[in-house]
Assembly symmetry: C2
Homo-oligomer: 155 residues x 2
């Protein structure tokens, strides 16, 4: 329960951040967590027809994160239908948010992995916002794997 | 409780119909109905960047429907941010779905009203799907208030 409620709190925080930046934002249903996980992304954000879908992961420390393959498949399918881009939104305690495109997930056989290196070089929230203003596909931009400039990040 | 569960069942049905037509669909959180009503549309559907947001109303018979003004304001704001179009999705027992654009709501002072005449001449599900394929703004199309052809409706 502690883990779940922390996860929900992270989702709420992400929703607020996106809302403040002008997005229409919706969280998946909070009840029936298992059913919900099978169908909905944790958070869907839309701005002027640009769609971002997120699976939210909260961790107390920087470590590799493993994702259920079926869950990632659903996230991708949702993004494909919506014409949007899918990200793993990662909140490590004491670190700013990091966003890793589903295109960068590593298939380990039984699951998908986001290594701690990938988390560290993930997009910041401001990077993500900058991408939404551009016209190139987000996943392409995300794959450029550019360096971070924390000083410019308003977490 | 009966009314609420019937409403949820109608939402689920709408979600399934939209999903089958290729939309990414999300329902607002099912728990904390009051909080949810203040923030989220009942259903959000997205297809290739085209966004439809719905307030769902289920009634056992054809009658005028009254909507909370603040709720409608939130629906409009969500649609504005998303760059989408907002509809009242109405399911009357024994009738096919009808969709009325928020642009057609009548201000009665204390609330917004959808008259039973407006419901009867509302868009069918297939009308709505046809609109999504067009490039003109949905609300403009919806305002044309065209006649129904029930024979062409696959409910």
């Amino acid at each position: 329960m502690g883990g779940r409620s922390r996860g929900y709190e992270a989702e709420r925080e992400l929703v607020r951040k996106l809302w403040r930046r002008g997005f229409a934002v919706v969280r998946g249903p909070a009840s029936g967590a298992k059913v919900r996980k099978a169908v909905y992304p944790d958070v869907v954000a839309i701005k002027n027809g640009r769609v971002l879908v997120f699976e939210v992961k909260k961790r107390s420390r920087l470590e590799s994160i493993y994702l259920d393959k079926e869950q990632v498949a659903k996230l991708r399918e949702f993004a494909r239908r919506a014409g949007g881009d899918a990200f793993i939104a990662i909140k490590i305690s004491g670190m700013p948010w990091r966003f890793v495109s589903v295109e960068r997930l590593v298939d380990t056989g039984g699951s998908y992995k986001v290594s701690h290196e990938e988390i560290e070089k993930g997009l910041s929230f401001n990077d993500l916002m900058a991408l939404v203003e551009t016209t190139i596909p987000l996943t392409e931009f995300a794959n450029k794997n550019r360096g971070r400039d924390e000083a410019s990040t308003r977490a």
